[in-house]
Point group: C2
Chain length 132, copies 2
């Protein structure tokens, strides 16, 4: 029998630390095709989530000045534990951001001159831990 | 310099296979607190995504007969590649599902008698691959 596990809420400082510790999360919005969640590279800077995108992306067309969420997690299948952090807030797009303004280091190739910034309205996290 | 990478769309059969190959994804909905995405254990059965939940969960309160999305991915930080699959559809909750009806094997402890099923309206996937 596997050990007991339960979910505990993370304090904000820990949640921010975890959010900033990984290079990719999932941008979530309610778009023209419906609810959408896709992995994108991000950085945490000055209390905001920053994501680079291309000029003609769905993100650029649909997210500016809209409510969005951003989810990051780390899940350990072998031990059946993990953590997740969820940010909610309003997105705004800087249509001509310099490289230094958001060093997100996207994995796919291609120029990404736009930066989507999420002003955080809420930030929550939880961790699945082994009891005992 | 790292090798070039670009995104390619997955065919539906491959996307379904990947969706079914992992034990956890992110349920996405537009709830009372705003856009929400949280990791949950799932199974793919008879063309639907199945998720177990508790009687008093936010999922149970907010998702029945509502549009939802379900995102799964596998991301390789070392090689900067990965894949993701996004399902969109309407959720319905079976309030008294037997254990055999949805063998999702949740990681957290506790009884989860409810089963949320997503009837698939769209299913898309993409993979970030090294060029060449």
């Amino acid at each position: 029998m596997s050990p007991a596990r339960h979910l505990v809420d993370l304090d904000t400082a820990t949640a921010v630390e975890l959010l900033a510790s990984v290079p990719v999360g999932r941008l979530v919005w309610n778009g023209s095709a419906g609810l959408t969640a896709i992995p994108v590279n991000h950085v945490w800077r000055d209390g905001r989530v920053l994501v680079r995108t291309t000029a003609y992306s769905t993100i650029a067309r649909e997210c500016d000045d809209q409510p969005v969420a951003f989810e990051v997690d780390a899940l350990d299948e072998d031990h059946r534990i993990g953590w997740s952090v969820l940010v909610r807030g309003r997105a705004s797009i800087d249509w001509d951001a310099g490289p230094a303004s958001a060093p997100t280091d996207p994995w796919p190739d291609g120029l990404r001159p736009l930066v989507l910034a999420i002003d955080v309205a809420s930030l929550d996290g939880r961790r699945l831990v082994e009891a005992g």
